[in-house]
Subunit: 295 residues, 2 copies
């Protein structure tokens, strides 16, 4: 792995995810906090207009605007399409500012604790993730594969990843999660510094990786209206095993709907507010333990 | 007190407060659930357009559109102004549908449990509220005085009140709170039935009333940008005593800001997402115990 020369911390890619947005605001105010001797760190407030009005986005989800072909499509001219092109220019194209690592900060109404979300299995990312989950028991690591080329901001760089924290309501700043997220960022920045200094510990931590295997929608009627809720037994129980026959949903009139799959899965993003419109009640993952992530 | 002839249950006055909106949807699907022998019950989805897009409102907060003079002002023509006039016609003006009692269902990101919010101290409401908090320990009762005539939907009727439940994120349906809220509605409907049948228990339950004495904003800089968060010690601690010197906020750079008032207060609506834009971090209340609410 080559030396890291520049790192980007992005917050507020979704305007109503205040944890990341306010952490970026803080780092803008106190830039010394993210200064390290061997590389440069820059901050970006992803969607300033959406942050200002406290909404996820203005016209479309910015974090679905980074498909390579769309970034090159000049006819796409919504606020978020334009913003995606601006961010791409800064983080990827302009040789004065382009980065080697992207940390994109998100929050969720699901009980995801401190999650690291990877979009690829670059050995350096796996080793970093293994280290983070070893030193901080609140950290879980997931891997979500892009279906048809990734449209996420993190995919601008092979060393791009997401920190996803929750449970926290949209449009709310939670001091406890704010502090834990900031602490995690400092651990990452220190790790990158050690990497540059050839000082990464030899220890090969095992990595528990939750790999997405698909999404589940809410039960709906023929008009698309939701007919059942997340069952109380699994609400806020992200990363916990869901076995065949376990309750999954509860209809509005109180009947449990069981999980009918053949094998145990580990749901994540359970009851994320922003996913109602996407037809996603949760993601199912498989749990994989990687004992050797050595680079 | 005269007989109750018609009761309205309103949900989704704010489109992203799903608990009430989905309870109304359920009652529309199963109308027998809210049928009682001595009066009629109608349901209203307050802001259908906002509910459809999962936002609090489209153009302005519907639950601030019910000031008497605004309802009569024909130049006010936003979607919510028009909707407020429609609702007023149904609940107050049309003799075929006008109601004696309004139950307006709301939810909040603050940890308000099951709160009954009164806008006046009509003896019948006080007695009902005392009964509800006696039979259900999760129920708290607050009283918020309108500053310059009430602009809330509940104020269409002297027997109008709010059920405010939380903590729950905006745009999220939480099964546990959904069921508790529905149960509370049934208790209220049964109470009204007993009232009509002259069968209200004689017991004079004491009432603990949290009376609003003002609002507190977040510390902000000269540009209006938030500089501090709700202190972790009071997050989710609505209705708990806050004493002089107790921590209130935490600045982004980690300094505690203490409550400097002279007397103990009881904060409510702590860290409600929708109140950031209104300049409200919480409401302070005083606790009052009324031993005799007899009508």
């Amino acid at each position: 792995m080559k030396k890291v020369n520049r790192v980007a911390i992005v917050g507020g890619t979704h305007g109503n995810e205040f944890t990341g947005a306010f952490i970026v605001k803080k780092f803008e105010q106190f830039p010394n906090l993210i200064k390290r001797s061997s590389y440069e760190t820059l901050t970006i407030l992803g969607n300033p207009k959406a942050f200002y009005v406290g909404r996820r986005y203005i016209e479309k989800d910015l974090n679905r605007c980074f498909l390579q072909e769309n970034l090159q499509n000049v006819t796409l001219a919504s606020y978020e399409d334009i913003r995606a092109k601006e961010i791409t220019k800064i983080l990827k194209e302009d040789s004065q500012t382009k980065v080697d690592v992207i940390i994109d900060l998100h929050s969720t109404t699901a009980n995801m604790g401190l999650s690291i979300i990877l979009g690829n299995q670059h050995p350096f990312l796996l080793k970093l993730a293994a280290y983070l989950s070893a030193v901080n028991p609140l950290v879980n690591v997931c891997y979500t594969t892009p279906e048809k080329g990734s449209n996420f901001l993190r995919s601008l760089n092979e060393l791009g990843f997401v920190i996803e924290v929750g449970a926290v309501a949209q449009g709310v700043l939670n001091a406890d999660l704010f502090q834990k997220t900031e602490q995690l960022i400092h651990t990452i920045l220190d790790y990158l510094e050690k990497h540059n200094q050839g000082d990464i510990p030899e220890t090969n931590y095992p990595l528990t990786l939750y790999k997405s295997i698909g999404t589940v929608d809410y039960p709906r009627n023929e008009n698309g209206e939701i007919q059942a809720m997340i069952h109380p037994d699994i609400q806020f129980r992200d990363y916990q095993p869901l076995n065949p026959g376990d309750p999954l949903f509860l209809t509005l009139d109180g009947k449990a709907i069981a999980y009918k799959g053949a094998s145990t899965v580990y749901p994540i993003f359970i009851n994320e507010a922003a996913y109602y419109e996407k037809g996603i009640a949760m993601l199912f993952t498989e749990k994989q333990i990687i004992t050797d992530v050595g680079v």
